[in-house]
Structure formats: C-alpha cells, structure tokens
Subunit: 379 residues, 2 copies
Amino acid sequence: MKKKLSPLAYSRQPKMAVELKVPLKSKEDLSLAYTPGIAAVAKLTAKNPAATFRYTFRRNNLAVISEGSAVLGLGNIGHFGAYPVMEGKAMLFKKFANIDAIPLVVKTQDPDEFIRVVENIADSFAAINLEDIAAPNCFYIEEKLKKKLSIPVMHDDQHGTATVVLAAVLNALTLFPKKGKKTRIVIVGAGAAGLAIAELLLHYGFKNLILVDSRGIISSKRPDLNFYKKRLSKITNPENICCSLPDALKGADIFIGVSRAGVLKPEWIGLMNSQPLVIAMANPVPEIMPEEAKKAGAALVATGRSDFPNQVNNALAFPGIFRAAIDYRKQINEKMLLAAAKAIVNYHRSRLSSSNLMPSILDPRVHQVIARAVGKVCS
Amino acid sequence: MKKKLSPLAYSRQPKMAVELKVPLKSKEDLSLAYTPGIAAVAKLTAKNPAATFRYTFRRNNLAVISEGSAVLGLGNIGHFGAYPVMEGKAMLFKKFANIDAIPLVVKTQDPDEFIRVVENIADSFAAINLEDIAAPNCFYIEEKLKKKLSIPVMHDDQHGTATVVLAAVLNALTLFPKKGKKTRIVIVGAGAAGLAIAELLLHYGFKNLILVDSRGIISSKRPDLNFYKKRLSKITNPENICCSLPDALKGADIFIGVSRAGVLKPEWIGLMNSQPLVIAMANPVPEIMPEEAKKAGAALVATGRSDFPNQVNNALAFPGIFRAAIDYRKQINEKMLLAAAKAIVNYHRSRLSSSNLMPSILDPRVHQVIARAVGKVCS
C-alpha cells in the first residue's frame, strides 16, 4: 500500500504541468510552431480575434482567479494564500472536464482595480472562474465582468454552490415530499453562497424562502442591509417573519446552512415541520454534526464533507457547466445552472436514497451528463 | 512520409495542454489536491509567500506576455495578433528548458496600465518573459517591472537578441580576427533589439560602436533622440561620425542589422574594412540576402533565418537564461547575459566554421550548458 502523504508533502511534488501535444523535433516543426509559420496565424487572429478560439491554446484555457479575500473557510488570507487553492481547482477542471485551467492570483483587493486587471488579460482565456472572493465585492465584480467580457465568467462560490444545493434540495424533496414550491426553506448565511442559493431557488420557483444573516432574519424592515441583501429582502420572507434563526425555523421544512460551525442548535430542529431536512454546508465543520441532527429528529442530513454521507460539493457542478460554456462560447446564466441541477437529479434518480443523496464527483460520467444537459440550453 | 501541414492547419490542432502529474482517482487524492488538505498549504503560503515556490505550480510557471505593439516583423497588430506568437514561444520554453510557460496577452498598450496589470498578477509566476513590445515603451516597462517585482523579468526581443548577437560577433571574430575590443561595429536599427545589442556589446568591452536609426547615425549632436537613444549617444560613436549609413560603414569591421529588408546595399560592403562581417537579422527578409553579401565581398554572413546557414536565433539564449533565473530565483542582469553568450561560444568552439557560426537550437545539450553557465553567475 502507498504511504499516506501529508498535505504539505503532497504539494511538494509537481501536481500539474504544461505539456506539448505536438513534436518539436525538426526545423520544420519549429517553423510551424514559431517563426516564420506562426506569422500566418498571428495575421489571422489580428484581423479576426475570434480565430484565437480555433487556432490557439485559448480555445480550452480557463483561468481560476482570486484575490484571496475569502479563501475556503480561512477568510481574507490574501492572494498568496489563495494560490494553492486555485491550483487545486485547476486540477479538478482538468480531471473532470478536460479543461486546461491555470491558477492566477491578483494582488489588489480593490474591486475596480481587480476588474481592470481581469478585463485586461481576459482575451487570453476561453473562460474565467472567479473564486474565493468575499461578498459583497464578489457580486459587483462578477456583474461588471459579465457585462464587459464576451467570455463565460462565473464566481463558483456563488453559482456552483447554488447549483449543487438546488440539486440536493430537489433530491431531498423526492425522498421526503413537502409542499412543493411552497416548501419553506431557511437559508442561514447571506454571503456569496447564501444569496446565490436564494436567487437560484427563487428562479426555480420556490416561493417561501427565509434568509438569515449574523444579525437575524432578513426582512424588508431591516435598515442595515447592503444593496444585494436589500434586493433579496423584497422577494423572500413573504410572511415578513421577524427576529432570529429559531423564529425562522418554526414551521420550516428545510434548513440550508452556508455560515459557520455550530450555528444550528439541535433543539431548534424540533421547531421545524415533521421530517425536517438539513443541508449543513459550513466548511470544514458544518452548522450541526450529522449525528446530532439525526438524533434531534432530522429526516435527512447532508454536508459539504467527503467523510460523511450525502456530500454536496460544487465540484459536481462547475466542471460540466464550464465545459459546456466553453464549447458553446456562451455566457453562463441561470438557465444553464438549472439545467445542471436537473441533470444531477436525473442522473442520480435510480440510486437516490437518504444516505446517497448525490452522485460521486469521482464518477466521470456525471460530468459528461451535466455538460451535455447544459450544452442543450446553450444552443 | 508525413503530410506537410500549412501553418494554419498545424495550429488548428491542440499544440500544448495542461496535464496532471499526480492521479486524482480516490477521495483521498481529492482531499489532498483540493479541500480540505489544500488548506494546510494555503495557510503556509499566506504566512510565507515564498513557500509558493516550493509547494505550488508557481515554482516553474512562466508567463510569456505581450500587448502586441511589435509582433514579429508585423508591427503593431495588437494583442490578439500577439497571442499565437506567445503560445509558440511558450512551447519553445517547454521543449528547450522544461519550463511550464503560458501565453498571456494584455489589452492595453498604455505602458503604465500594462505595468499595473503585470504587477497585479506577477505573484502567480516564477518569471516573466516580456515579448514583442515596441520601443521605447519596452525599455520603460522592463525597467519599472524589474524594480517592482521580485521575480526575473526579461524583454527577450532586447536581451535574448543581444545575447545571441554577442555570441555571433565573438564567433565571427574568432574566425576573422579584427582589432579586438576596438573592432568597429555598426548597428543598424535603434529599437528594442538595436539598443540592447549596443548595451551588451559595450558591457562586454567593445569600444567602437556606431548606432544608426532611420534618420541616420546616432551622435551627441542629434537633437531628435528619445531618452534611451540619447543615453547611448554619449557612449557610442567615439569619433563623432556624422550622417548616414554609408558614412558609418567606411572602415567598419562588422555590420549588425536589426532593422528591415534591403537596408544594406551591396556596394556599401566595399566601404568596410577587409573581410567584412555581416549579421543581417531583419525578419523575415534580412537587410541583405546572404548570396548578395557574399558576392559583394562579405567574409561571413549570418541571418535570423533557419533556411540559410549561420542562423542567429534568440531561441538559443532565452530557454537557458530563464531556466537558471527561475532555479536560482535571481533577477536577470548583464552578467547573466554575458555568461550565456560565452557559454554558446565555448560550447560551439570545436564545431565553429564560417558556414556553421552558431549551435543548433535543436541540440538539447546547448540549453543545458547555457543554464549551467548562467547558474554559476547567479549563485
């Protein structure tokens, strides 16, 4: 058996590399790969920029970009801390979607300067995966870049997470049917992931969402909301429920946590409707540990972790979404996210159980199925 | 025999790719390459940025960057036109120096904004090869970036060219000895390459250089010089020779052309000292065709082209220089360029002839020899 490596020892070895796909052995090879032959390609792409997608590395080149303001659960540790995470994500892109992804970190955390930098280098890439950028800057940055750039852009912490959570919710509701689109869903955490989950669930058609941030339930009465929370305050919490998380949980069907360890007290699960469903995504320690939640009456518990059953992991969504977006050269939109979520649900239907809520990200077929489904709404 | 591809057909196939160097097959692999294992690496690099050189892809990752203002001999064709050339160069880096190089183009041609962009992304790379940037911006950009960044930076059009030209001059002088460091050398073209060649020849110790630009000989009397030409006007042309190229060539020993096709008239070669040496680097058509130069009395002719004998090609210099600069994490300086030029000369000594002036860039050993020689002056 192979010796188990520590995370640091593992990363001391080269994990990815650039490799040539054509031989460079003769003068003739060189004259095609570089001068003088490359001049013909340069003239073509100068005249017709879109030819870069057909004649160059750009065709399949994605940048995984961060400025390090919200790295994993480690917070604002800066761009040097973000770099290894971007590399890891680039590896997943290659493995699951055969995308040539490269890690890239940007020094500035000023959102406008960050946008200028990305805009200036974007023509080198087929797509851009924004990563680990803190709210609310992440919303502003993504919105602006989507407008400015003609290539697909997605902040995965938002939309990759939203996509897999929607799939998890749909699967959970297949196992434990509730009130359909009127199911009451409480989302705790109103950062990048929380707001994107709310948007996508609303887009899917759910009508009764309650968002809760560190100061309590988000309602139209709250005077302290940023632009993005305010926007959501108008279309969530239809009964205008006030105050704190336990108030939101009274009569709720589903708890979704994208906040921090220990936020969900076991006794509060008793406040929820019968057969309450718990998706506790805080990383590395979930809002409630699965054992505790079960003991307190949860009918189903999912987390973000691979060492518990029912892992809800965005690595299930982003490879296929970007594969399709790159292949169809299509800006990523909610229709594509919905298609990805539904593809996950359909693919997993025959294997679905309360201890097997989601497909494994190691199943290569699931990524192909998602890419195909997303591709269908691209064309 | 393989069918000969056109340059466009050649570039329609994928020429380079990102590849994984470790398997990603099990949950354990994933937990080391990405979360949760990567958090340990992220914490380390956040605290100690230099650890990115030991634990991440950055260790061997070079960016070949242009804004497209002087692409090959095609002029200012913009960043889309530059992209295929950057990719070709990245391939040579991989082939000759095993450097994981990626092509990157920047939209802006404003030098200060370009500098800001590169500065903002530089912490993703082990080194930066600036490429195909027009003079005089290339001087300003390189100077500023070398000051601002702690990683090696080199504008190859300047210093790669200067290095191989110095090696070619030294080899030519071994075959046809002249007046040692007092040899009169005329450099035609005072852009990126011409000025860098002059600087390096001066640094080596040559005392009698004459630079010629499109308006004539550069002397301290010329009122129309930019900052960079002015600086050189003070340390070249010691006899204060005036006027045009033929005036400069009277009594000259070596002609170096980095200008454009046809600049050197055959009859002017007769103005030079006996056994005149001609290094005509304009691309794709040299300042004079080798046959013509020979007929007019040149003792030796070299060009930048692979289809004539005596190719003087910067691909001989930049792989080894950057290999050493990355391995020793050392800013590139003139000492390193001199070491590279001398390594080329030493390596080729036993094979040197007037029809075999330089080693072949396809000889893998020459790049290793250069890297080793440059490494010695790094430590």
